[in-house]
Amino acid sequence: MAFYRSTVLVSVDPVCVEKGAYELIDTLNDELIKQGLIDEVRILETTRLGDPQKLGPDIIVYPEGTHYTNLTYYDIPRLVEEHFIKGRILKQYAAKMQDAIDEELSAPKSKEVRVVLRNVGVIDPRNIEDYIANDGYQALGKVLTEMSPEDVIQEILDAKLRGRGGAGFPTGLKWRFARQAAGDIKYIVCNADEGDPGAFMNRRVLEGDPHSVIEGMIIAAYAIGSQQGYIYCRAEYPIAVSTMNLAMKQARALGLLGKNILGTDFSFDLEMRMGAGAFVCGEETALMASIEGSRGEPRTRPPFPAQKGLWGKPTNINNVETYANVPPIILRGAEWYSTMGTEKSKGTKTFALAGDVKNTGLIEVPFGITLREIIFDIGGGIKNDKKFKAVQTGGPMGGCLPEHLLDLPVDYETLGQAGSIMGSGGMIVMDEGTCMVDIARFFLEFIQDESCGKCAPCRLGTHRLLEILEGICNGQGKEGDIEELQDLCEQIRKNSLCGLGQGAPNPVISTLEHFMDEYKAHIEEKRCPAKVCRNLIKYEIQDGPCTGCTVCARNCPVSAITGERKQTHVINQDICIKCGICYQVCQFEAIKVI
């Protein structure tokens, strides 16, 4: 590796690119050539360095660690002259340290343990040498020279690694099934179709540490005896796709992919396949149908992919996070790995914390940590000093858990017993201002939209569930609705073809179980306790605080508000469409939601 005096990291986050990050890089490159510094200063593209909306385009110059923000290409000549020639920091662009926060992934908090995210934000993802310098591809070397395929499978079994896509099936067992399946041609697939709303853990791994996934896949290929693999990545992640493509190219150039890897007689190569915007393709059989060029519809299992997968051949399919766990397990051993976690769930799990929590973003914690520790210690508690109401784990097919279940340890079994799922790791925190019936309706809307339509319980059942929930939210709830919801949920869960339909009732079942009083208030009293459902609330102007400033009346789109200047105004409830604009524009908090 060449020696450089300085390294400039340039954020090529989508927002920074929009604001001209590439023009910046071009100008910087030209200027460094002009000043004869190009052999001394290295430019690296990286993911976001701070809040790109506020700070982008931004760069960090190492070894000093100076963070320059809000740059444009015409600032560059001066920056090069001052910083690199005269050695002075250009104060006008240098950010204060506290501004430079990666909203998605901050420095590890005290209860976090980073295994999967070990390199994310630390190495340059577009440079394979950075990964190799951090023990990258050492596990592959160990596997190819010291271990038999059976040894590799045993190590993964001993580590008790379970599938991180959500279902938690033992990875080693899956590999063994694929290894034992008859046939010469076998495939390895990486499920990078991370579609759960609010979950972006896999995106950051693909964008920030692509080689850990590639290395994990090569090791899996060696273990089951496969020569060809596919990465199926959703098209909504263009940067992840380009980073992975570049990483594969670099790995190929160094003989880590392709024929005779590391000089052995083992050959394996990878291909990228992009999704086309169908949530159900995250389901493994639908995903494989999509790679084969068909509609992404699931099929019944068995036969499982390990017996009959892609093009009818034995196929091993794991999620991004599962593969990223493989190299550290091989390198540091199953014993080390299984010191983390609970009896049945070993290791760590990444979560994307979102919603009404103070610190949103990506975290990685050992299994067994409680929801309370995640939300209050790591997440910093609820925003705006409001009260906690529920946490939804596992994406749209997960359940909503209330306050009294917060001390449960997070592992596959416990979350399942509590009526939710581990899922891929989305975690949405909701405060007291959230209506749980509305949330159930919202998730059903998503699921109903994404149902592929192949099987009737899911296609028709979710449609009917949604109709009833919409009725309840609109104030048309009636006696018997709750019983019908419960019955439908049971039928859909039992009779649907794939995980999407089987999990579809979870948001309804869990909110019915833990927030029955809210359903009853909607149905029996026609009241929305959280004051969210429009047809069940009304806006009223309070006599005392109203100063008669007329702002509300002037902003009302349907002219429902009347009143003289400096007199208390009145909302005509027959005309009011409950848009809430008056509530937002009132400066005196005179408008109350009832």
Binding site: E103, E236, A278, G355, D356, F443, C579
Partner: protein, 159 residues
Amino acid sequence: MAEQKFAENEVVELVTKIVTSIGTTRGDLIPILQKVTNELGYISQEAIQQISVLLKLPTKEITSVATFYRMLSTKPHGRHIVQFCESAPCHIAGGREVFSALKEALNLEPGETSADNKWTFYTTSCLGVCGVGPVILIDTEIHGNVTPDQIPSILGRYE
């Protein structure tokens, strides 16, 4: 986004070029349709005919795949595609108000294209930038932390 109409022979030529660069197996079908959508703006009947000839697949097979995926379109689009993220984190962060403001500003329902062919409006599943919700994607540009009153100025940036 491609707005100009392509003549039939141009479509045939373009599709042939795309198929040659990708391949003619069944597994190549979706990458081909993605490329056609990107270059033609949508998958026209002529394009389906030509793919059918080159891949030796019935046109109904191709249509069935092309209509299954959200990102493949068999209908022409407007010059700009506005996509609103309808996922839970954006919903909780005030997405509902942004959605109504956007619908009103565009005067379109999801799936519609404006009469002047400027806008096509869609809702989209999670874009994975939940830290800055609510999020709108216009063509390939992401706008985050959007509030209802920013909508006119955001839309105003597009010709």
